[in-house]
């Protein structure tokens, strides 16, 4: 509490002092995807800013963000600041010249110290900074229950072989090692893309991963095919997955982890990003993070590529160059603002200087540590690809493959849409 007060005061002196009266009654409009608790958390993050500057932030949260943003940009009525669906979209918007270069007024040198180079690069177009990252999710995690693992005598696997050995062991005891849920409404299939991406990072170099993202290697390439096969070894194995393929395809991604916490457990492992913590706690409020559920890093496959981190993040860009919008952007990149934001949710901050004590529990702190210390970090490939592939044929390809279709024909079909999508 004291910390917050001090923070508000400092911010007040800084911003209020510089731009004393010019901000009175001013507003800045922000468009985002958050609703419910996320929206409350964001509004809370804005409170010190509003109190210190007197600028009113008008926030609109909608899951239809891509449609609303595209329309408003095309009609010349964009919000001052908006969350962008993914870095791919940012590149397109920067190319048509509707984004304001934030490097003009933000201290890029200071940002370089606080943010990993990856984030700066992802927010840049042609060497100029256009977008900043507020919060991140780490995807390379397998969730499990330490208690049930201890009871059953299972050890946390540290390599792919150990992971498969453990899966076999559980399966041979007549139980299901994995809970997998790919259903997510119109976005069904995306949890599978995270599997492929994490496996890709572990069986090939980050450079090849980048080539895959930029479609410099075809989808029919041997290494991509191997990644799908390794995914298939688990998801298409009826003994490995609770309920088999049918359940994997129809179970909701948010409800799938619940199978780990029934008595007796119906499954033992679940691969998902950090955000799933809030789902687990929502459906199982009695569980204690770290004690009743925890995660281990998705293990290394080919030892020489180690255990890279895969992640995604919420990015902000500016469309109208007003003093109020500039002030808000300056505020959002600070470690102080992000500390308020991450304290509310299971999210991680992209800012290195965020105090680890700001995270609500050890589990989130551990994830933040993995994210900031990982030797290799890559952004979610499907978010970087053109929409026709990254949120189109890649998603449906996952469903077709899990559903039993021949891998070669799935990959050929994705390749065909990719050839079209990367043309422009």
């Amino acid at each position: 509490m004291l910390k917050k007060v001090v923070f508000v005061l400092i911010l007040g002196f800084l911003l209020g002092g510089i731009c004393a009266t010019s901000f009175a009654q001013k507003t800045v409009t922000v468009l985002g995807v958050w609703g419910g608790e996320e929206r409350d958390a964001f509004l809370k993050t804005l409170e010190p800013f509003e109190a210190a500057t007197g600028i009113k932030v008008e926030f609109t949260g909608t899951r239809d963000l891509p449609a609303v943003l595209t329309t408003r940009v095309a009609a010349g009525n964009p919000p001052d600041i908006s969350v962008l669906p993914n870095p791919g979209q940012m590149q397109e918007l920067a190319k048509i010249g509707v984004l304001v270069e934030v490097g003009k007024f933000l201290d890029v040198g200071k940002l370089g110290k606080e943010y990993a180079e990856t984030w700066i690069n992802l927010g840049s177009f042609k060497g100029k900074l256009y977008a900043i990252f507020l919060s991140a999710d780490l995807k390379s995690l397998v969730w499990y229950s330490p208690e049930t693992f201890a009871d059953a005598g299972y050890a946390v696997p540290t390599s792919w072989d150990e992971l498969i050995a453990l899966s076999d062991k559980i399966a041979n005891q007549g139980k299901s090692p994995w809970s997998i849920g790919l259903e997510s409404g119109a976005a069904s299939g995306w949890p599978g893309t995270d599997w492929i991406e994490d496996i890709m990072l572990r069986i090939t170099s980050p450079e090849v991963y980048d080539k895959w993202v930029n479609h410099e290697i075809p989808w029919t390439d041997a290494v991509i095919k191997r990644a799908w096969q390794l995914f298939g070894d688990i998801v298409r194995n009826e003994k490995y997955v609770y309920g088999g393929v049918a359940t994997a395809l129809t179970a909701n991604f948010g409800e799938a982890p619940n199978l780990l916490f029934t008595t007796p457990p119906r499954a033992y492992m679940h691969k998902q990003a950090t955000f799933i913590k809030s789902f687990i706690l929502r459906y199982n409020p009695e569980l204690v993070p770290g004690k009743d559920f925890s995660f281990f890093p998705f293990p290394s496959i080919d030892a020489k590529y180690g255990t890279p981190a895969l992640g995604a993040a919420d990015m902000f860009a500016m469309f109208n160059d007003t003093p109020e919008a500039r002030a808000l952007m300056r505020y959002l990149v600070t470690a102080g603002a992000q500390e308020i934001w991450v304290a509310q949710l299971g999210k991680l901050s992209a800012n290195r200087r965020v105090n680890p004590n700001a995270y609500p529990d050890d589990l989130t702190r551990k994830a933040a540590d993995i994210l900031s210390t990982a030797p290799t970090f890559r952004f979610d490939a499907s978010d970087l690809m053109p929409a026709a592939v990254g949120s189109g044929s890649f998603w449906t390809g996952i469903l077709d493959y899990v559903g039993g279709e021949d891998l070669d024909s799935v990959l050929r079909r994705i390749e065909a849409t990719a050839v079209e999508a990367y043309k422009g």
Partner: protein, 286 residues
Amino acid sequence: MTERMNKVLSRGLLHTFIIFIAILWLVPTIGILITSFRPAQDVASSGWWTVVGNIFNQTQFTLRNYRIVLSRLGIGRAFLNSFTITIPSTIIPLAIALFAAYALAWMRFFARTYIFMIMIALLVVPLQMTFIPILRIFNRSNLAGTFPGIWLAHSGYGLPLAVYMLYNFVSGLPKEIFDSASIDGASTFHIFLRIVLPLSVPIIASLIIFQFLWVWNDLLVALIYLGGTPDVAPITVQISSLVGSYGQDWELLTAAVFISIVPSLLIFFGLQRYFVRGILAGSIKG
């Protein structure tokens, strides 16, 4: 005797069939209603039908969803905004359409049929196509983000259907009424006010229901033209912001839906006795 038996039997069959359809139709609504009273953990672990067997067990129900929705929604403001949007957006297009339908049906003027045809052709234009050009016009005329802007937008979207249905009804009125009225010295406006308007009450009532429901339930049009800030956002926009970006907390929607449905139901039941008469109005010409 057998004839009567047949009649009773066939009517019984018909009724059974209708009741069956009605129940089938109601199942999803009942499911949502039950879900709205269940705790989040139960919603995730079992289907709503599992409570049907022991419906009198009070412990499995909670008002939590309704409490959260009512406290988080800013419900008073949202309802007020929704009414501010919906009432003019219903009255304006209906008033214009009624004049237009009368003129198109009974007045002789240049290019009458062509004007009518163009209006009808507008029925097939998907409204999503109009977002960008209309928003541009609104920007230039400072209508973006204002209530008059969205009134105009909804009026435009509602007009073609309203004109079409009213035209069919008004043109079906017997010519003799108009003749005798004008012989008695009634002016065109008089005929409209004293004859066309009262006779069209059933069709107007059904159009009010259509338009009211459409505008009340609209999310996208409001989001595009008005934005989602609390001082203008209608209840649909507020409801959609209850759900997280990954779709978490969706059980709150079930409660929110039953809150937002209330005005629609009131309108429907209030105008219901006109509705059945009106719905046939466009279909057969008398």
